[in-house]
Symmetry: C2
Subunit: 481 residues, 2 copies
Amino acid sequence: MSKEKQFVKEITPQNEDFSRWYIDVIKKADLMSYSPVRGCIVFKPDSYEIWELIQKELDARFKETGHRNAYFPMFIPESFFQKEKEHVEGFNPELPWVTEAGGEKLEERLAIRPTSETMIGHMYSEWINSYRDLPVLINQWANVVRWEKRTQPFLRTSEFLWQEGHTAHEDEADARRETMQMLDIYRDFAENYLAIPVIMGQKTPSEKFAGAVDTYSIEAMMKDGKAVQAGTSHYLGTNFAVAFDIKFLNRENQHQFCHTTSWGVSTRLIGALIMVHGDDRGLALPPKVAPTQVVIIPIGPAKTREQVVARADELFLELKKAGIRVKVDDRDQSPGWKFNEYEMRGVPIRVEIGPRDMENGQVVLVSRISGEKRIVAQADFTAEINKMLAEIHDQMFERAKQFRDEHYGAVDTLDEMKQFLDEKRGFLLAGWCGSAACEAQVKEETGATSRNIPFSPSEHKSTCLVCGEKAEHTVVFGRAY
Amino acid sequence: MSKEKQFVKEITPQNEDFSRWYIDVIKKADLMSYSPVRGCIVFKPDSYEIWELIQKELDARFKETGHRNAYFPMFIPESFFQKEKEHVEGFNPELPWVTEAGGEKLEERLAIRPTSETMIGHMYSEWINSYRDLPVLINQWANVVRWEKRTQPFLRTSEFLWQEGHTAHEDEADARRETMQMLDIYRDFAENYLAIPVIMGQKTPSEKFAGAVDTYSIEAMMKDGKAVQAGTSHYLGTNFAVAFDIKFLNRENQHQFCHTTSWGVSTRLIGALIMVHGDDRGLALPPKVAPTQVVIIPIGPAKTREQVVARADELFLELKKAGIRVKVDDRDQSPGWKFNEYEMRGVPIRVEIGPRDMENGQVVLVSRISGEKRIVAQADFTAEINKMLAEIHDQMFERAKQFRDEHYGAVDTLDEMKQFLDEKRGFLLAGWCGSAACEAQVKEETGATSRNIPFSPSEHKSTCLVCGEKAEHTVVFGRAY
């Protein structure tokens, strides 16, 4: 059997071929391997650790807002899908089916969950009896499967990891509050943790979740101008409650259907991180989600090596105690090789220490983002590192926001949209009459889909970019992953 | 659709019907629901939180010993199973098969992983080229499926959650060191975190993992005298390396097969926790793994209520700041009802505070395990709580160990074994000649299986309990879940 060599010599420049750049970077940075199963990847330790950091932070935010985790079976009986008509139509084409198990053909086929509204709806119908049982606020961390035709590492894989929140409420107002609360947690997390600016808004009917009344999303722009839907939150109304009989005795002692919500983010966030922040030198990881935040590299001639490494180890311990994710690289390779290596892996700060620095009681801090070199006193080391990490986060967010704003236009006609997409790439605000036909025509002629109806667009458009009739909404359009 | 009522009025006493006791407890304590899929349960928040605490502690121990997490596809092509003969024979009967996906029949069936040696072996063959790549030390947290005929909540479910470590090494010595290191981590975790005494030892050939050279286990005794295998660690030799071509260029520049290991514990630990520590009043959770370690219950008449609740809230915050998992129950139910409720849910310490306690600057601590009431000064509150939590852990471990030792005999013949199992239940040390036939006869006549060949038996037996020939090993036998 031949050994697969995933070694990439040079990273293809982004403006030469963005897709090749992406694959080059994730292979060279050792984030993933293709697996022998179609559309499934292996999350190698360096990407899985990013996911662990995402999980830890989101999980804390979910728990702060009263949610608890649980775990539901991944097998969903075929009959469950039939109960919510839009849901089955939306997901049926993507389901894998278990038809045999334990040496026997199953009486009823079992799907592997693409999402768990049906299974959880069934369970909630058993658990919820009275308004006293409400709200039910549960989240699940799990693997899900959607057998996609076109896949792309992290962004769209057959099996992926995610969290799915599922809540049940007494009335619409409470369920809508929850829907918005979780959307805002996602926005805040994307901006303040991943340094990714996002556009919050509502999906158009044709783009909403199969079975939802209303779907809301946060949308991020990649460096090729394309969109990634980075998180969604759905108000499901009573659709699943009716389908699964999730009823309760209300305060007036009458039976009533619950209003439910669901919301999720997935490992596609890893892909978004890479495509928002990476550059021609490789990955660039925002400090809060970087598995290694600081790498310390001892430099200088062999005769001072032992002393310098010993000091590097002390600096390592100092940062570690302060809760910073740090690493010393005292291997034999040249400093230059190491500088390139950690730039490529996106480590936010490189610390250089050599014999002269030892003499002067100083170290050199180098930012992955700005390239800035900062000479700081060893006495201020941890404080300066924390300061620089915070600055790097802010710089990355601002840089990504500036890029997004530069590629975020507003147009009045389809022709203008085509021209913008060809010349500048990016997102476009445009008026939309509300008809599915006009929306479909945009997609057909430009490849762009409606991303969402933003809550705070920079301007409002009064006419539909396709038919010229009165605009019902101002919509963000963009080509999407 | 009818509402399932899982309400349990009374818990069946353990000595009346242990199996019913178990089901009564896990339903009444709201730990799980049966799902509509055969053999699959829902892990409700109170049991999932136990799993989260188990994960957090074990994950830290794995990382301290140099392991990193990764994630591999759950789908395993059928051909992969054929590559290791014992492995396919061991697992084939329990596999669920995906035969259709995305609206098409698959060319090759995909199994849902029962364990991941095959998939991970395939990937390691791509990743490992040189001795410089070794050791590879990876762990995966995942769901796995074994389509079992007989299932039991937590202990044996079709889908369950676990971790599986998979490592590759240059030579046998290094792989065996790893195998033993992980077994000892499991032992230490079981004893010092779950308060479950375990017997470490080696599995007999008929009980080892399908594809392993040697399997080691930790075995725990439940309160009905039956065994639960609480964790396993396997030295796989070069079996999977040969099957999946995991080769490397060694220090002598020659191609050589890796030696691999695997090791795992699962959500069955939740079942073991319940069956080792629970009693006729319900759950009893060891402090380190209890989702709620302390519950504070305000008592006294209505007129002092507000004041008492305010003080209870202060005590709550004090413990919370100290990192203790604490809850205040100021609902309307009577104190007596609450006392029973939290005893049933296994909360280690109940704190009572009433108007007289406020006057005297004291609180009352009540241990779930011993029932001991301790009046302590409010000034010493956190320190006393920490002290009592540590004591409760020790008491629970000692109590479980005493029970185990009282039900752990040694016998010379099959008849003695039968008599012991009928009269006392439990584990038995016995000599064994090493033949599979004698081992099978023990199982047939007594229902007991060899648990393991313990590393430190309390005595050595010289003759086989079945054939009377010279004993090769002294083995622990017991009926098992």
